[in-house]
């Protein structure tokens, strides 16, 4: 039995960087993957959906370019070609991951890993490898509620990516970010979309003003029907369509996309053989240094149930790898930008305005709409705003939200600023290139003190 300094279980965006990092620190490392290198992110999540969303966005731009004097007739979409392109991107990235792992001397194993004991990992082919330390990075999978019929017309986000052609109409169960992203994408490509969300609004983690901006465009701009505070019941899938009762109304569509959340993957790991138990909700509990309750076993990413985002898993993975190899524990960062690829896009980081106010401190906020920005007007992308949430006493930047054009890119500046503990004054004095969308942050920083140059002053008193 070959024994490694570190065995990483799962080669997603948390696991493979952890393996490479540990190898670079001089450890002998093995990684076990049961399906595809790159995990959900690369194969069925972030990357493939962004390929589709980029296509939808381009399509929408082409067909809505009249303001620039561009009229395109006969624009059409070959969905099969798009899927082929998506698959090409995915396999290119996947082979990139494989090369990186191999080049760093990480040994790859394919199969399902399970604990025999704290230091022995059994593989599904019957062999076993020894592990001085283990990082569990098994991720999560779509939670499919039991009441959904098992039918080809009922898919989760992963299944959705494999459909050969777009449906004419689609029901989306769940108004979280996965449901909303795919709903926007499909609607931009001409699918008639209805979202049903049990809670009182979609994207509930966002501040109300941000939510309102997104929902407004989804409903009015993209024609998506959004039903909130309602359950979808009595769901039936047949040869012709899928139907469900929503209150009094019967909804009918060609396809139902279930996007009600994700659950951790721990089945088959036999954690109990390592003396490890999952928490109440099935997640593996860890501390800031990614340590589980069992010495030498670390966990990162979605399976820890903290923030279910690829980049957070990567940050955890690198910290876990260092902590597994080095003696001195290093906590991972906890300031996580959150990006949503809806139309309009959303980026948030740090405290939301709601949370900041609840945190029992005086806060000041500033907001600046893209409609007041030269670059946004020139680009014909004026929807949305950026917002700073700052500590009233010290001016410390506590949080930021961007909704609108390039919001998912714009949030990077805010993340760096908050991480560096900048104050709103300094951000405001930082020279921002003109004309760019980034200027919105500077204007907003001025707006915190009511000193925005390019917005009408607020009436006082």
């Amino acid at each position: 039995m070959e024994t490694f300094d570190l065995v990483v279980i799962g080669a997603g965006p948390g696991g493979y960087p952890a393996a490479i990092c540990a190898a670079q620190l001089g450890a002998s490392v093995a990684i076990v993957e049961k399906e595809q290198l790159g995990g959900t992110c690369l194969n069925w999540g972030c990357i493939p959906t962004k390929a589709l969303i980029a296509a939808a966005d381009t399509f929408a731009k082409i067909t809505h370019a009249q303001a620039f004097g561009i009229t395109v007739t006969g624009a059409s979409l070959d969905y099969a070609a798009l899927i082929a392109q998506k698959n090409k991107i995915v396999s290119q990235l996947k082979s990139g991951v494989k090369q990186l792992l191999t080049a760093n001397g990480v040994k790859l194993y394919t199969g399902v890993a399970s604990f025999k004991d704290r230091h022995t990992i059994a593989l599904s082919d019957g062999s076993a490898i020894g592990a001085r330390k283990v990082i569990i990075a098994t991720g999560s999978t779509s939670a499919m509620p039991g009441f959904l019929p098992k039918h080809e017309r009922v898919v989760d986000s992963r299944g959705f990516l494999d459909i050969p052609k777009l449906p004419g109409s689609m029901l989306v169960l769940g108004g979280g970010f996965i449901g909303c992203e795919l709903a926007c994408m499909a609607a931009q490509l001409g699918v008639k979309v209805t979202i049903v969300e049990l809670l009182e609004d979609i994207l509930l983690l966002l501040d109300p003003d941000v939510r309102r901006e997104v929902r407004g465009n989804m409903e009015k701009g993209l024609g998506i029907r959004i039903l909130t505070g309602k359950a979808l019941q009595n769901i039936q899938a047949g040869d012709k369509d899928v139907t469900g009762k929503c209150g009094e109304e019967t909804l009918q569509a060609d396809l139902l996309l279930s996007a009600v959340g994700r659950k951790p993957v721990t089945d088959g790991l036999h954690l109990e053989n390592a003396g490890l138990q999952t928490g109440e909700r099935g997640f593996i509990e860890t501390d800031d240094c990614c340590r589980t309750k069992v010495a030498g076993i670390f966990a990162i990413g979605d399976v820890t149930g903290k923030v279910q985002l690829a980049h957070y898993a990567t940050a955890q993975g690198l910290a876990a790898a260092e902590n597994a190899v080095n003696q001195k524990p290093r906590p991972h960062d906890t300031l996580v930008p959150n990006v949503i690829f809806t139309a309009p896009e959303v980026g948030t980081v740090g405290l939301s305005e709601d949370d900041a106010k609840k945190s029992n401190r005086a806060v000041k906020t500033g907001k600046f709409r893209f409609a007041g920005l030269g670059k946004a007007l020139a680009s014909g992308e004026t929807l949305g705003f950026v917002k700073w949430i700052a500590d009233a006493a010290t001016g410390q930047l506590l949080g930021a939200a961007a909704v609108g054009p390039h919001a998912t890119e714009l949030i990077a500046e805010a993340t760096t600023a908050i991480r560096a503990e900048l104050t709103v004054q300094e951000l405001g004095r930082t020279i921002h290139a003109h004309p760019t969308f980034n200027e919105a942050w500077m204007e907003t920083a001025h707006a915190v003190h009511g000193e925005a140059i390019h917005a009408a002053p607020k009436r006082k008193g």
Binding site: D391, A393, T394, G395, Q396, L397, A420, E421, L422, T423, Q425, E426
Partner: protein, 450 residues
Amino acid sequence: MATPIIMPKFGQMTEESAIVEWRKQEGDKVAKGDILFTVETDKSVMDVESFEEGTLLKILVPPHVNVPVQSTVGFLGKPGEAIPSVSPPAPAAPKAAMPAPTTPPVLLAGQRAPPASVVSAPVAAPVTPSSQPAAPPALFRISPRAAALARQCVIDPAPVKGTGPLGRVVERDVRQYLQSRGYDKLRVTPAAKELAAKEGVDLLGLVAAGEGRISLAEVQRAIAEKPKAMSKMRQIIAQRLTQSFRDIPHFYVTVPVDMSDLIAYRNVLKAAGAPYTVTDFISQAVVLCLLEFPTVNSSTDGRTIRWHSQVNLGLAVSIEGGLVVPVIPDAGRLTLTEISATSKQLADKARAGKLTPDEMSGGTFTISNMGMLNIQNFSAIINPGEGAILAVASTLPQPVVREDKILIRQIMQITLSLDHRLIDGALGAQFINAIRSKLEDIELWKRLTS
């Protein structure tokens, strides 16, 4: 004419009090019975209600300033009414330096009358240092430019040595100091600097962690670790217990008490509806013993001995933020039932924060019962003005040897702390064994409860 609001006198021995919080602000309407402010006396915290209605016109005494009782702390009246020009009462001077005219304030059990010798005992310092007029501000000590530079750099200029006229700190001194302390090598995040400036944290006192720069985390830690004024209650506890532990030569005697029979008997009584707690039996046993051994019911200042003619039994009660010792006066004249009822009443009042200072005064002996806290044994510190204190630990099943057999019995350890100036070892041993034999004498309890 506006009506003055008077700082009430809460107990016979309360001489000064500090307002903890004004519950009404200037300009607020006040109805009869509304709480105007909360007061921290040297023994407790209490609400002060308004006897009249009107508008709070003026607050003369801000929170946390000790003022003599009966002084005017504010004015009530109709809006716009003239307020007599009264200067705020001078804060009570710290008494450490001068002999107090009467007894020192007591939080734990105190004396009925002041023993002559403890008069000059220092009382707790006022709650905040700022409430005392400090030495006149040394206007000349630092130049405005130097002070501005220190402020701008978020450092404390106090350690800077002055080289200006008459040793005044001038800008060049601050610069020199900054250089010698390596200020230019300090890396501070902007938000951390703002917060440090706001909270008066000296950046030079911080050590950068992690990424080599001082971040919010370090400033927040410094703020959290800044010494904060103790509550008045804790100040009193600290002052009195320090005084006791420093001045009284303590010694300790411990015995195990077999409580098996008494607990069984008490359970029988309880089943029959009698309200006695185990503490009540201990109190009764202690009272009986104090009547037998009057020396233990006395106190000394080291030169004189006071023999207390009655047993005033203090019972330590743990409350939020500290402890108080309500006193059962003249417990020697009470029956077990009366002791039980009084104890319960006082403990309830203590937990509700409703004890009056007089109910916490005059103790001659104290029982501290930690039986419910699952401990083997402990020793207590004698309350000033008393000669001994009994510490009661938990009753736990223990192996006991009787007639060469090992039995399991319910054993409670009790430890007596004694003032060796008054009481010698032999007497201490006799006294604690007397308590023990009373508690183990089931016939006695049958007599007392029948």
